[in-house]
């Protein structure tokens, strides 16, 4: 079972890297989404998979009677999902704001911080306060 998940994680990472290498920062964002999914699945698989019951303790017992799923990676993933959401939401707003300021989603033309001497000033995006 872990094998199947390992291959799936590889596929997710490959798709995410491919997206992140694109010019469009929105694609980069999509890649980030896939990458956080892949990371969560990695933690999950590393804690070993089991079709057994969820990590709950029945009434009247002090500890699970049978083998239950590994609770530790689940707790870690929960934290990771929420923090990942925070990151993605912030990135999304950043992308939006970058588009407002620079008028483009093409990261190649976002050269305001590191301008190139041979860049054509017309194609190079600048913050609005510069343009206006």
């Amino acid at each position: 079972m872990e094998t199947a998940l390992a291959i799936l994680v590889g596929l997710l990472v490959a798709a995410s890297v491919y997206l992140m290498l694109g010019r469009n920062v929105l694609r980069f964002l999509f890649g980030l989404v896939l990458l956080s999914n892949a990371a969560n699945l990695t933690i999950f698989a590393a804690g070993r998979l089991t079709r057994a019951a969820p990590p709950l303790i029945p009434e009247g017992l002090a500890a699970p009677a049978d083998l239950v799923a590994n609770a530790l990676p689940q707790a870690l993933i929960l934290t990771a999902i929420v923090i990942g959401f925070g990151l993605l939401a912030f990135t999304l707003v950043l992308v939006y704001r970058a588009y407002l300021a620079l008028g483009t989603l093409n990261s190649d033309r976002m050269r305001y911080a590191e301008p190139h001497l041979d860049d054509d000033p017309k194609t190079m995006s600048q913050p609005e306060q510069q343009a206006s």
């Binding site: 079972m1 094998t3 199947a4 998940l5 390992a6 994680v9 590889g10 997710l12 990472v13 490959a14 798709a15 890297v17 491919y18 290498l21 694109g22 010019r23 929105l26 694609r27 964002l29 999509f30 989404v33 896939l34 999914n37 969560n40 699945l41 999950f44 698989a45 590393a46 804690g47 079709r51 990590p55 303790i57 009434e59 017992l61 002090a62 500890a63 239950v68 609770a71 530790l72 689940q74 707790a75 993933i77 929960l78 934290t79 929420v82 959401f85 939401a89 912030f90 999304l92 707003v93 939006y96 407002l100 989603l105 990261s107 190649d108 050269r111 590191e114 609005e128 306060q129 206006s132």
Partner: protein, 769 residues
């Protein structure tokens, strides 16, 4: 050169009023400290001569076996005496020479730092202690050489010395650590006893190469000789100190110290003999070409270092005795002559050989000192230099491997020394008076008393060699060879081959002296026709380094985000991938996973969603595909016993898709991406597949090993009794790891605040208005 020399003097004159008086007293403690140390070290002489070894230790990093420990034996005591003795003389001299200099106090700080560093270096017993002090001498010499920091040449020379000796220091550090590995100890006193083990160790050659790199750069052996003459940019007392007993002798000390451990192999003998002989002859020829007295002296120092290296290559007792004796001879006459050149410069305003002459009448005391030091340098009896020279010839003939080569090099270098002694020490005082920038006057006593003391020592040790034979030379030779030795020094050995060689040397030297002007012109002509000098090659090397850095920056720091990412991902894949194969951690699954149909369906859902998201050109399709991936992952969580995670995943996924959809309304459509070029897309896809494959392999390797469930087991056992919760995951989050969860909430809150600030766009509007 001329401009530089002038500038130092002008600075001194300009600031004479404002700086003087306030800190002049600093010269006295700076003189008294080394003088007191000199007496202390001298008081140890009888014990050391009797064969004792003094040892002081202080635990420093006990876990690594590193101690702050010091060892006093014949070799380190000889060096310590030279360092403190010359140090005291130089400190006394500088008080007058640099009087009124605006940075008078700073000068003494640097000088003191340098002396402490040198003392620590020669007295260290622990290899790490030795290295730390070695580096400290590099730093202190940088400060001293660049003391006249307003001069670009001084700054360049200082940096050159720092880079070159610093690079050598790095090599030395690696060599010392390897040596400690091979010998099993960081303590020199233990390493020195395990010479055979080190020589037979597989690491012997790397150790030798690295240690010698350190020694050769420090002691200016060809091809690293060029920094030392450049270091003449320092004030003359500094040159006297650096050249006679300290900085450049550090490399010699290191080779002598390592002699019992590393010597005796072909690699040691040939490297030291050839490098030393080449350096000695080449440097004395270049010295003849110089017109600046100080620069000529600088090259004779390189020559002396070459000679010492050449003799340290040998095993014969008499050769090592020659090296030790010459070490003392050289320190005495070289410091004296440098200080005399400084006096000439100070009193007449020039140190160009051709502008000086006939000063004996005006400066009789300086002339006497110069003559004494010069005669010792040339090797005339009854000076110590004569004994040193005789010993050198005797030692050269005793070297079994290559007596002819060593003897020829020694005779040639010594003959040039005779000529140079004449040029530096005699010519300025003899012959016709020449016009000098300043009318010559005899120097004040504080200037000449130091060199006079050194020159007098050179004479008295020559007349009564027994003064140093048993107390200094013999213990040092014993320490270098690592076995008890007896050394006898005498002025008269009877008529033998060394004496004949001495006569030959004198005749040759006088002949060269008589024709030195013509020779100098010829050498100058030759020099101008050389394609390049080592100094220029050094500049070329630095330029090359700079262009390499620039090219590398252009390549790696292109300013294009995609390229940064591409490089990062490619590096990640290659580094992790090769490591996986290198440590043999690749575990390919042997069995096809046995999965239920619903599990296959979830896997298929996620894969299809990911592929679609990666390839689609439509924003809406992409968002839907991401949603599919999220739901598929949530299903997987659900199927493998993680319902809490699945619920959170679904909630978050839904929320995110809504957010993206809202923002998307305000963003332009996706254009065909990855450039119009097909090659770029293929390259990106290749890197992506590579990274994905590496991640899969890593995960396969991880799940192949055993799992430690002890933490989980603890949580399972403790949930109910300690936290009164039956959902273990929840208990972990809100109880056992509550602080983490609090941090997580804080992260989300900060992200929300930052997003809010970005959306409000206050900064933008303010900037526009």
């Amino acid at each position: 050169m001329i401009g530089l020399r002038g500038s130092g003097r002008e600075t001194r004159a300009e600031h004479a009023q404002e700086g003087s008086g306030t800190k002049a007293w600093i010269g006295w403690p700076s003189f008294l400290l080394p003088a007191a140390l000199l007496i202390l070290f001298a008081s140890w002489l009888p014990a050391i001569a009797a064969g004792e070894r003094l040892h002081f230790a202080l635990a420093w990093i006990p876990s690594l076996g590193v101690n702050l420990s010091f060892l006093v034996d014949g070799l380190s005591l000889t060096f310590a005496l030279l360092i403190t003795g010359t140090g005291a003389v130089v400190a006394l001299y500088s008080g007058t020479y640099l009087a009124g200099h605006p940075h008078f106090a700073r000068f003494y700080l640097y000088l003191g730092l340098f002396m402490v560093a040198m003392l620590g270096l020669v007295l260290a017993d622990d290899l790490i202690t030795l290295f730390v002090f070695w580096e400290l001498t590099t730093v202190a010499s940088y400060l001293l050489i660049g003391f006249d920091h307003a001069s670009a040449k001084a700054r360049r020379s200082a940096l050159q010395a720092l880079l070159l000796t610093g690079a050598g220091g790095l090599a030395l550090l690696a060599g010392l650590i390897l040596l400690a590995t091979a010998a099993g100890s960081f303590e020199l006193s233990e390493i020195l006893a395990s010479g055979d083990a080190v020589r037979e160790h597989g690491l012997y050659l790397p150790i030798l190469v690295l240690v010698l790199l350190g020694a050769f750069t420090k002691s200016a052996q060809v091809p690293f000789h060029f920094w030392l003459p450049n270091a003449m940019a320092a004030p003359t007392p500094v040159s006297a100190y650096l050249h006679s007993a300290t900085m450049v002798k550090a490399g010699i000390y290191l080779m002598a110290r390592m002699h019992p451990v590393l010597s005796g192999t072909d690699a040691w003998i040939w490297t030291l003999t050839i490098a030393g002989a080449t350096t000695a002859v080449l440097a004395s020829v270049i010295a003849l070409r110089q017109t600046d007295l100080k620069l000529a002296l600088a090259y004779t120092t390189v020559m002396a270092l070459g000679t010492l290296t050449m003799f340290l290559g040998a095993e014969a007792t008499v050769a090592i005795a020659a090296a030790v004796t010459f070490l003392i001879v050289h320190a005495l006459y070289k410091a004296a002559l440098f200080l005399i050149v400084g006096i000439l410069d100070h009193q007449t305003g020039t140190r160009e050989a051709d502008q000086l002459g006939g000063l004996a009448r005006a400066m009789p005391i300086s002339a006497c000192i110069a003559a004494a030091a010069g005669l010792s340098m040339a090797g005339f009896p009854p000076f110590l230099g004569f004994i040193g020279k005789e010993l050198k010839y005797e030692g050269a003939l005793a070297i079994a491997s290559e007596p002819l080569l060593v003897a020829t090099a020694a005779v040639l270098a010594n003959a040039l020394m005779v000529a140079l002694a004449g040029i530096v020490a005699l010519r300025p005082f003899l012959g016709n008076r020449r016009q000098t920038p300043r009318a010559p006057r005899e120097a004040p006593i504080r200037l000449w008393i130091g060199p006079a003391f050194l020159a007098a020592l050179g004479l008295s040790f020559g007349v009564a060699p027994a003064l140093i034979a048993d107390t200094l030379v013999q213990p040092a030779v014993t320490a270098i060879l690592g076995r008890p030795e007896t050394v006898k020094l005498a002025l008269w050995h009877g008529i033998n081959i060394p004496l004949l060689l001495s006569a030959l040397t004198l005749a040759l030297g006088l002949a060269i002296y008589a024709r030195h002007r013509r020779l100098r012109a010829a050498l100058a002509g030759l020099e101008s026709r050389l394609p390049t000098t080592a100094d220029q090659a050094w500049d070329g090397l630095l330029d090359g380094l700079r262009s390499l850095a620039a090219a590398q920056t252009r390549l790696l720091q292109s300013g294009v985000l995609r390229r940064y990412l591409l490089l990062t991902f490619a590096t990640l894949a290659l580094a992790v991938g090769t490591t996986l194969f290198a440590v043999d951690a690749v575990r390919l699954p042997r069995l096809w996973p046995e999965l239920l149909v619903k599990e296959w369906a979830a896997l298929g859902l996620v894969s299809a969603g990911a592929l679609l998201a990666a390839t689609t050109q439509s924003r809406l399709t992409a968002i839907c595909a991401l949603g599919v991936v999220g739901v598929g992952v949530a299903l997987l969580f659900l199927m493998f016993g993680a319902p809490d995670v699945a619920i959170t995943q679904l909630l978050v996924e839904t929320l995110f898709v809504v957010l993206v959809a809202v923002v998307m309304l305000r963003l332009p459509r996706l254009q065909p991406d990855h450039g119009s070029a097909r090659g770029g897309r293929l390259r990106d896809a290749g890197v992506a597949v590579l990274v994905g494959a590496v991640v899969t392999l890593v995960l396969l390797a991880v799940v192949d090993g055993p799992i430690d469930r002890s933490v989980t087991a603890y949580f399972e056992q403790a949930s109910v009794p300690e936290a009164f919760g039956r959902n273990i995951v929840n208990v972990i989050l809100v109880d056992f790891r509550a602080l983490d969860t609090f941090g997580e909430i804080a992260v989300v809150a900060v992200a929300a605040l930052a997003a809010l600030a970005l959306i409000r766009g206050g900064g933008l509007r303010r900037a526009r208005s």
